[in-house]
Amino acid sequence: MSVEAEPVPLPAPPLRHRRWIPVAALAVVLAAVTSGGYLTADALGEVQGGAVAVNASVRVTPFPGWELAGRSSDPDRIRLTSGSTSLDVAALPFDGTDVDLLRQYVDNILEPDAEQFRVSEEVEPVRLASGLTGSRIAYVGLFGDVQAPIEGEVTAVVSPSGQGVIFDGWAPAGQLQFEIDEIDAMIDRAEIA
């Protein structure tokens, strides 16, 4: 004679997997916030890929995401932008060294237009992919009516033929660090006759 035990209902399966749901949702939100801007910007329109001529002797190839935002003359100058970051490239005949050109640009162009202007103490020598050498400094200051501080990096190059080129990459404070590699790469690949 046997006594059949009444079947005990099994406990509900562990809901451990449910712990993943809010975590996964949070991860998706963080991924969307960090990458969403780039994806949206791409969707809004891509930039042309070819080289941009500053004048007959100087050409710069914008990285993807950079676009030609302006052009002026006397001296010949273009502005490339990527979001809030800009790279101004100016080309002019110059009889002097790249350090002289750099100093003149800082003294005559940047400093008169700036408040609380500061320049890095050391001038960094640079060498472009073409073999040309130049000089580079970093700066920070308040410019014009723009309330946010601007930080920038100026590179001056003078070719043996006397073609002086100024590359001024700038952005609102805090933003330049995210674009500086692309700016340096565009400068490195610039074609200067």
Binding site: T34, G37, Q116, Q147, A148, G174, F178
Partner: protein, 412 residues
């Protein structure tokens, strides 16, 4: 005796719904929680960037970098303690508090930096470079930074759900995330924006800490954290829709305050600082943008503290007039300033040892409330042990010369 107390506790009206896990301590290191691993992976990956950035700053300006951190520790340490001690009765576990600080300083700063740049592209696409130069900070940072910071509060909750009992807990974790964020951001500003020289660092400290230190990320994320805490701690008490509305409303308030700070609206900051008057104007300009949220937070924190006080009273009401707690002692416990005064008086009357003993007794009486809230029965061993501990501490205090008078005054 326990039955009598149990009966009183059961029959007295419950005006405040007690949190079930008030007083429970959980560590950050919850190896089985997926949220912990998401937290850990993000912090480790972003720490690589944060460390390299700090190394760069240190290389660029060793003295400025050291001065920056020295000044920020002077500012951050008291603020850390003030936030931590805001929670009068149930201090949050230190590992979780530090976890929140690290999220703000490491993960949130790096994620926000990447995201701000991306959304800055969108602003520039839509508004052009001139518009972007003036408005990017207002249109990107408030949304991006508040999101990545409040994500840290949510992660802390998902790691240790029992720890977020009330809005005050959310404020503490949120403010800690904000403090971590602002410390690392300030170092960046001192070096990259204010030049990194000792003079520049001091100028930056004046502008960003002395003039504006009461406003900013600590408040923003504190408010957003209160929203998270409200949403998760009022389950079963408040309808889902209302909890969601309050949480989103507080997050929106944080975003709006941040937007106001970054935007050109109500901007009374001097365009350049040349005279003494310009320097004096900076804190006033900061107050115009920051004071409204500060006032709002003060009100919210006071309300949250009042609620915690009601919890403590409800939890200890059934323990009153026993060998381990008197009515007067309960009243003293409920008011932090009276608690401090009682210890000062004890010190004057019976010396430092008596003051230390009274402090320990008060702490254990608060712990008694914590245990009371999480045990089911009135004769639970943990509760019985805690009562015995409080009773013995009280006996020891009463036996000290000079201490008896204060401790027995209630009897008269």
């Amino acid at each position: 005796m326990s039955e009598r107390r149990g009966g009183r506790f059961a029959t007295e009206p419950q005006f405040v719904r007690m949190p079930r896990n008030w007083g429970r301590k959980t560590s950050l290191f919850q190896w089985r929680q997926p949220a912990f691993w998401l937290y850990a992976v993000i912090v480790v990956v972003t720490a690589v960037y944060t460390i390299s950035q700090q190394q760069l700053f240190q290389k660029l300006s060793p003295s400025g970098w050291a001065l920056s951190w020295g000044l920020l520790i002077l500012y951050g340490l008291p603020l850390f303690l003030a936030i931590y001690l805001l929670d009068l009765y149930e201090r949050e576990p230190m590992s979780l508090v530090l976890g929140a600080l690290v999220w703000g300083g490491v993960a949130a700063t790096v994620l926000a930096g990447i995201a701000n740049e991306g959304w800055g592209l969108v602003v520039a696409h839509l508004g052009g470079p001139v518009f972007a130069a003036e408005w990017t900070a207002a249109l990107t940072a408030p949304f991006v930074e508040e999101t990545v910071k409040v994500a840290g509060v949510i992660l802390i909750y998902l790691i240790a759900r029992d720890e977020m009992d009330d809005m005050m807990d959310g404020f503490v974790y949120g403010a800690m995330v904000g403090l971590g964020f602002t410390l690392v951001e300030d170092v960046f500003y001192f070096i990259a924006i204010f030049g990194g020289s000792p003079g520049g660092v001091l100028a930056g400290f004046y502008v960003r800490v002395v003039s504006s230190g009461f406003y900013g990320h600590v408040l923003y994320t504190g408010v957003a954290g209160m929203g998270v805490a409200y949403f998760v701690s009022r389950r079963g008490e408040v309808a889902f829709g209302r909890r969601l509305a309050v949480a989103l409303g507080l997050f929106g308030a944080a975003v709006a305050a941040h937007f106001l700070w970054n935007s050109p609206f109500l901007n009374f900051f001097p365009s350049s600082v040349n005279t003494f008057g310009d320097w004096v104007r900076i804190p006033f300009a900061a107050a115009v943008k920051g004071a409204p949220l500060l006032l709002f937070v003060v009100v919210m924190v006071r309300l949250a503290r009042r609620r915690e006080r009601m919890w403590l009273e409800t939890a200890l009401r059934s323990e009153v007039d026993t060998p381990w707690l008197s009515e007067i002692e309960l009243r003293v416990l409920l008011d932090p300033s009276v608690r401090r005064r009682s210890r000062r008086e004890m010190r004057a009357r019976a010396g430092e040892a008596a003051e230390r003993l009274l402090k320990r007794l008060q702490k254990e009486q608060v712990n008694l409330a914590m245990i009371r809230t999480r045990v089911a029965s009135d004769d639970d061993p943990a509760l019985v042990r805690q009562r015995a501990l409080c009773g013995s501490l009280r006996d020891a205090l009463l036996s000290m010369p000079g201490a008896a008078l204060a401790a027995t005054r209630r009897e008269g």
